[in-house]
């Protein structure tokens, strides 16, 4: 792990009109595996999208400092962002059903980042696409390149998205709930794959998730968000001994055979709101 951080955010805020969606948060991310957790609406996806310059129009980003891959992200225009996305930073979305282009073949979609960011001949590109598809564990890559997204299962679709994200050798990968559209057996496989590829390529990873058990297995550091604020930040190995009540409930609320017949711990939202007001 190099000491040079890939992403530095200082007092980052996101507003919709005058409503604050993400309140001032600061963090740095290096070549490490970091998880961002929180419930729906906590602002974790917005934070991740702002790092890619992909906020919806109407949302306003402000920050004292926002550096992405050594560049000042606050001063980037759309063209510069375009050069950065795919080559330095890449993102895997939640649901391959919606994120892949239904009218283009898999081969075309995996090849596109190479066309945009690298100068390679057509044959070289095709060879790299086939290698990448094999690297994400898809069988018969050359046949697969002629298929369309609707012909793939969810797990295969997610692997294709990962291939698109990684083919131009980015330094940092953002994965926004990459496994929540998959069934239980697929989840661990896809996550283990993401982890292996990120480690092999010495990349940084920001994994958005609400499954803390999964995170404790695959990540090194955890940041916890609630209602647009960064509540807690701790090493993933410390999750079972978390001291913040919110983190502790998130950790303990997972059902299992051991909890059969007992009520699961739930969040005391009233107490949490009160505590946030005091801050």
């Amino acid at each position: 792990m190099t000491a040079e951080p890939l992403i530095i955010a200082e007092n980052l805020t996101i507003h919709s009109g005058t409503t604050p969606l993400v309140k001032p948060i600061s963090f740095t991310l290096g070549r490490e595996r970091v998880a961002l957790v929180g419930e729906s609406g906590s602002g974790k996806s917005l934070t991740a999208r702002s790092l890619m310059g992909l906020l919806a129009p109407g949302l306003h980003l402000q920050a004292r400092q926002l550096q992405v891959a050594g560049r000042d992200a606050l001063a980037l225009n759309e063209k510069r962002w375009g050069q950065l996305r795919g080559s330095e930073l890449a993102m895997v979305m939640q649901d391959p059903k919606y994120a892949l282009n239904p009218t283009r073949t898999i081969g075309w979609q995996v090849e596109e980042p190479l066309k945009l960011h690298h100068r390679l001949s057509r044959a070289e590109r095709r060879e790299k696409v086939a290698e990448m598809l094999a690297a994400v564990g898809l069988p018969q890559p050359t046949q697969l390149m002629t298929r369309y997204p609707h012909q793939l299962s969810g797990g295969m679709g997610q692997r294709v998205m990962l291939a698109i994200a990684l083919i131009a050798d980015p330094q940092f990968l953002i994965a926004d709930e990459p496994t929540s559209a998959l069934d239980h057996a697929m989840r661990d496989q896809v996550l283990a794959l993401i982890r292996r590829l990120v480690e092999e390529r010495n990349m940084g990873l920001l994994l958005i998730s609400h499954d803390l058990q999964q995170i404790s297995e695959h990540c090194e550091r955890v940041m916890v968000m609630y209602k647009g604020q960064l509540l807690d930040s701790l090493p993933a190995a410390e999750l079972p001994r978390a001291t913040h009540p919110y983190t502790r409930t998130l950790w303990a609320c997972r059902p299992s055979k051991a909890t059969h017949g007992q009520p699961l711990p739930v969040l005391d939202r009233v107490a949490l709101e009160k505590e946030l007001e005091h801050d």
């Binding site: 419930e39 729906s40 609406g41 299962s153 969810g154 069934d183 239980h184 057996a185 609400h210 499954d211 803390l212 409930t249 998130l250 609320c253 997972r254 059902p255 299992s256 055979k257 051991a258 909890t259 059969h260 017949g261 009520p263 699961l264 711990p265 739930v266 969040l267």
Partner: protein, 226 residues
């Protein structure tokens, strides 16, 4: 409460019928939570849809809450009332342009019940929601609140069997815990019989007294509570 014998389920595919569940036999006792678990496409939801009377293309014998169901026929009368279902996606299972009161009142009006508004208020309170929410639209509610409303909709008809198709897979882990607690509490209070479908073995282990594992349209094993 539920007895299935050699049940097979088919789906229409063009002019053909494709059988997706083969010769399933199982019994669910009254007051029990029974689980169906398996990977996507194993036929667990197809089986549940048949039990809910939503797919007439089945063969075999099926007894539900004391009624003998007939293949190819829609559920009517007491059978329709006794078996109710909660769907996976709380965003898609409530009418987006109707206020909740209208959605919840529709089956009650059909059954010519009295004091419909009181029943709706009581139902919402029963699952821990403010009765004032009845005058909102679904998009004004969070995912967990919507799933609670979907549960109220099913419970207002005082069913004896509640079918749950992945009721928490679209929800956050923390909200899932709230909904599972609610279902357990309802099961104890009202003595409901529940059939729960999930791809998450942890949810099944937490909730169910007995469960079967399905794969490729067949039952391949049983799971028991600890």
């Amino acid at each position: 409460m539920i007895e299935l014998q050699n049940l097979s389920v088919a789906h229409r595919q063009g002019y053909d019928l494709r059988t997706v569940v083969h010769d399933v036999s199982l019994t669910v006792n009254a007051g029990e939570c029974f689980g169906l678990v398996g990977p996507s496409g194993c036929g667990k939801s197809s089986l549940l849809w048949v039990m809910a009377g939503l797919n007439p293309h089945w063969a075999g014998t099926m007894q539900l809450a004391g009624h003998q169901a007939q293949p190819g026929k829609a559920f009517t009368g007491d059978l329709r009332r006794d078996v109710q279902m909660v769907f996976q996606d709380p965003y898609a299972s409530l009418h987006p342009r109707h206020r909740l009161r209208r959605t919840l009142a529709e089956p009650l009006k059909l059954l010519k019940q009295d004091n419909i508004n009181d029943r709706i208020s009581a139902g919402l309170r029963h699952v821990g929601l403010d009765p004032a929410l009845a005058d909102r639209y679904p998009h004004q509610l969070s995912g967990g609140q919507r799933q609670r409303v979907a549960i109220v909709r099913a419970l207002l008809l005082q069913p004896r069997v509640l079918l749950l198709d992945e009721p928490t897979s679209a929800l956050d882990m923390s909200v899932q815990a709230e909904i599972l607690n609610l279902l357990n509490q309802l099961k104890q209070q009202d003595g409901l019989t529940m059939v729960l479908v999930s791809h998450d073995p942890d949810v099944i282990d937490h909730m169910c007294d007995r469960a079967v594992q399905m794969a490729e349209g067949r039952i391949v094993g049983t799971r028991h509570a600890a």
